[in-house]
């Protein structure tokens, strides 16, 4: 019941241009999404509606890649590079864990810089986060011993205490 409601609100909210039957050049934009659906006014289906409308489509797509059901989901143990807008621009690191809270989702990346471990927690839906690139998926390339094994944990905090496993992951990268 909720799924069909969600599908019909998605179609209503699409702002794609619609073809104009009398000219191929003219483009008529769809009418703005009508927010005043009866059910919404009564409070039904409010949270799914907000989840669709709160973020831009690119951010929603980025969020979905960190979700649990995406076919190409990003697993902890992958090596990511996050590019941000302000401040120091790019940070590369092993993904230690994903904190899934909808729009408040954040990821924890760890890198070792100059023999000091640095961990940064990025808020995925922040406008400061420009791009997230997967440099190496979890499980390494082929089977290379430690780097090739699939990570059996959701949060890889044990990597903080074992620098050899971190170097194994970085060796799998090169």
């Amino acid at each position: 019941m909720f799924n069909s409601f969600r599908k019909c609100t998605q179609r209503l909210m699409s702002t794609a241009t619609q073809p104009y039957p009398f000219s191929s050049v003219a483009m008529v934009s769809a009418p703005p999404p009508t927010p005043a659906l009866e059910g919404l006014k009564a409070g039904k289906g409010l949270m799914p509606y907000l989840r669709q409308r709160l973020l831009s489509p690119e951010k929603l797509e980025l969020l979905a890649r960190f979700g649990r059901r995406h076919p190409e989901r990003i697993l902890p143990g992958s090596v990511l590079q996050v590019t941000s807008k302000h401040a120091p621009t790019a940070f590369t690191g092993v993904l230690l864990g994903i904190r899934r809270r909808g729009a408040d989702t954040s990821v924890l990346l760890r890198n070792v810089i100059n023999r000091t471990g640095v961990e940064v927690q990025f808020a995925v839906c922040s406008p400061n986060v420009k791009d997230v690139k997967v440099l190496m998926r979890a499980g390494g390339r082929g089977s290379e011993g430690r780097a090739g094994k699939r990570m059996r944990r959701a949060k890889l905090f044990y990597l903080r205490d074992s620098p050899d496993k971190m170097t194994a992951i970085s060796a799998g990268m090169r």
Binding site: A87, P88, V112, T116, V118, V120, Q121
Partner: protein, 141 residues
């Protein structure tokens, strides 16, 4: 979160290796805990052995000296205004004199970029790399 008895590594070439915090200055908030960019009064717990002749680099401190320092790395996560949290694997500091000038001349290690926001631009410019400003492969030295 550095407070009384907190130990920090020293990452400049002033000669000290390990310092212990005695007091956090200018803290009316934060319950007296020091974070990145805060000045602390500290005791030098371990220092490099001082040679007889004076070397070309900065003044050497001895074990037992009471000095000031500024915290440059903390193990406790520090929040940036855009919602990022930065955490290092150790606590580190750089020694200062009473006029907020550095005692050493070089810095050997990354420092947090929050230092610049708190007014320690000179330390940030001396550090080899600012945190988050490089794209290295993870685990590499």
């Amino acid at each position: 979160m550095i407070g009384l008895k907190g130990t920090l590594n020293v990452i400049d070439n002033s000669g000290a290796l390990l310092i212990e915090c005695v007091n956090v200055l200018k803290q009316k908030v934060n319950n007296g805990w020091g974070s990145v960019g805060d000045e602390i009064v500290c005791v030098v717990k371990r220092a490099r052995p001082v040679s007889g002749q004076t070397s070309a680099s900065a003044a050497k401190v001895r074990q037992g000296d009471v000095r000031r320092a500024v915290i440059v790395r903390t193990r406790k996560a520090v929040r940036r205004p855009d919602g990022r949290y930065i955490r290092f694997d150790d606590n580190a500091a750089v020694l200062l004199n009473n006029k907020r000038e550095m005692l050493g001349t070089r810095i050997g290690g990354v420092v947090s970029a929050d230092l610049r926001m708190k007014g320690w631009g000179k330390i940030v410019s001396l550090a080899p790399k600012m945190s988050l400003s490089i794209t290295q492969k993870p685990g590499s030295k």
